[in-house]
Amino acid sequence: MDLASAHAQPSWSDSAEWSGDGIRRSVFYFGSPGSLLYGSMYAAEAPRSGLGAVICPSWGFEVASQQNLGHSLGLRLAGLGGAALVFHPPGHGDSEGDPEEVSMETLASAASEAVAEARARAPAWTWVLAGVRLGAAVAALAAEAAGADLVLAIQPAFDPPVFLEELTRAARRTALVGANASSLVFGHVLPQTLIDSCNRADIGAALAGMEDRRAVVRFERPAGVWIPGGFEDLVVHGEWSPRDSEGLVGRASAWLSEQETRKR
């Protein structure tokens, strides 16, 4: 060790990685200046599974309320020898970008960028797409461009206009009982670009012709969730709640591990 390195001041970036308990963690920004996206990676120190999953979050308030689901799944996959990348969509969380310019196209493009970043950082794994709620629709739209041959949809909202309608209605109900009458949806601007792009999003068409493997992991309640053709439907006993997603995380990670076994 030379004198210069012995006396080096600690820097901000020297703690961007952590490892312990057989898991390697890293946090970083990726993408283009001005629209940098925040990424958080979980990876096994000794890879035992060949699959890594980029986990696409939902939109708006659900990015926050469901972020622990993504991190739990990432941690579980890394514990099983795999890897995962959790990222914040444009205009959300710690990512850059204008939330008023978000659309299904920008969300899908961010998902593709995340897959490319994951491949570059962790080439030992084959990277696939997983998505939570509206993130499932985003993952389906991004799959072809991202070159992901597997899509896992977690408690999916595959009908984006219905998703926005339900979320908006829930926000209005909350506003009625509180002092928060607002045009925002749980504190988030609902941009026209997102409404328009949700209206024209065709999830079935996006997946048509792709030779991928697909599954939905969802709670048995609420019933009547629309699922496009070609998805294996894996139902977990109980009712969906973002606060108690352990059942989804367990089933989702098990299915991803099974795919790796089948591939071998």
């Binding site: 963690r25 939330p99 509180g178 925002l184 504190g187």
Partner: protein, 245 residues
């Protein structure tokens, strides 16, 4: 301004943080402590935006995911009772900022942590409390009474976190404490009994009430804009002549 995410090695496990660092020389450092949800970016990224605003003024701002949330998923501990994770994280931060005045900002439940941190740390140059919630975390009996007490005609009174109130009283002897709250916030009613507990020190606490709005949860555009503008103005005031505009 550059955001530097990091995973801090603490005795409780890895704590995920993001530090917004000014490109120009550092004028002060700040720690931002969110509410009970433990998410460092806040509603509609409000805490992220505030951190970047302050970094633009020359302040390095630390935001922390609380144990069990987000990037701190692998860390153990309850932020309501275990403050060691924060002390160790702050130590990591202050080694990198070097000696500089420290601004402490707490929102909602984070105000309790902010009072404790401001009491323990050196060089604290100001404390900002956004919709402070300084009530004690109720135990199971009290929680049950709060839920069902009406049925048996028992209404438990408000109990404040004694550690946070004592810390706030000591902090007020050392530095300025500013509070912002919405006219429609429920916890606005807590300020009078808190003032009584603080005695003469309460006169040194500067309170701003935003008319006609509820700030808690920051669900409206007006609430978000009011808190963002207030925090920025407060930081500029603390920096005084050193502030970059």
């Amino acid at each position: 301004m550059t955001d530097h995410p990091a995973l801090i090695r603490t005795s409780r496990g890895p704590i995920g943080v993001n530090v917004s660092v000014p490109d120009a020389p550092l004028l002060a450092s700040a720690v931002f402590l969110e509410g009970g949800d433990g998410r460092r970016f806040g509603p509609n990224s409000l805490w992220t935006l505030i951190a970047r605003d302050l970094a633009g003024l020359g302040v390095a701002v630390l935001r922390v995911d609380f144990p069990g949330a987000g990037d701190s998923m692998m860390a153990r501990g309850d932020p309501r009772s275990d403050r060691d994770f924060l002390a160790e994280t702050l130590q990591w931060f202050r080694i990198r900022t070097g000696p500089s005045p420290l601004l402490v900002i707490g929102s909602c439940l984070g105000a309790r942590l902010a009072c404790n941190i401001a009491d323990r740390e050196q060089d604290v140059d100001g404390v900002a409390l956004i919709v402070p919630f300084l009530r004690a975390t109720p135990g199971p009996v009290r929680r049950s009474l709060q839920r069902h007490g009406r049925l048996i005609g028992v209404r438990p009174g408000i109990r404040f976190d004694p550690h946070a109130i004592d810390a706030l009283a000591r902090v007020l002897t050392r530095t300025q404490v500013a509070v912002v709250i919405g006219e429609k916030d429920v916890s606005r009613g807590d300020l009078t009994p808190i003032g009584s507990r603080l005695g003469e020190g309460a006169t040194r606490m500067r309170i701003t009430v935003v008319d006609g709005v509820k700030l808690h949860f920051h669900q409206t555009r007006r609430a978000q804009e009011a808190t963002r503008a207030w925090t920025s103005a407060w930081a500029q005031e603390r920096l005084g002549d050193r502030a970059r505009t």
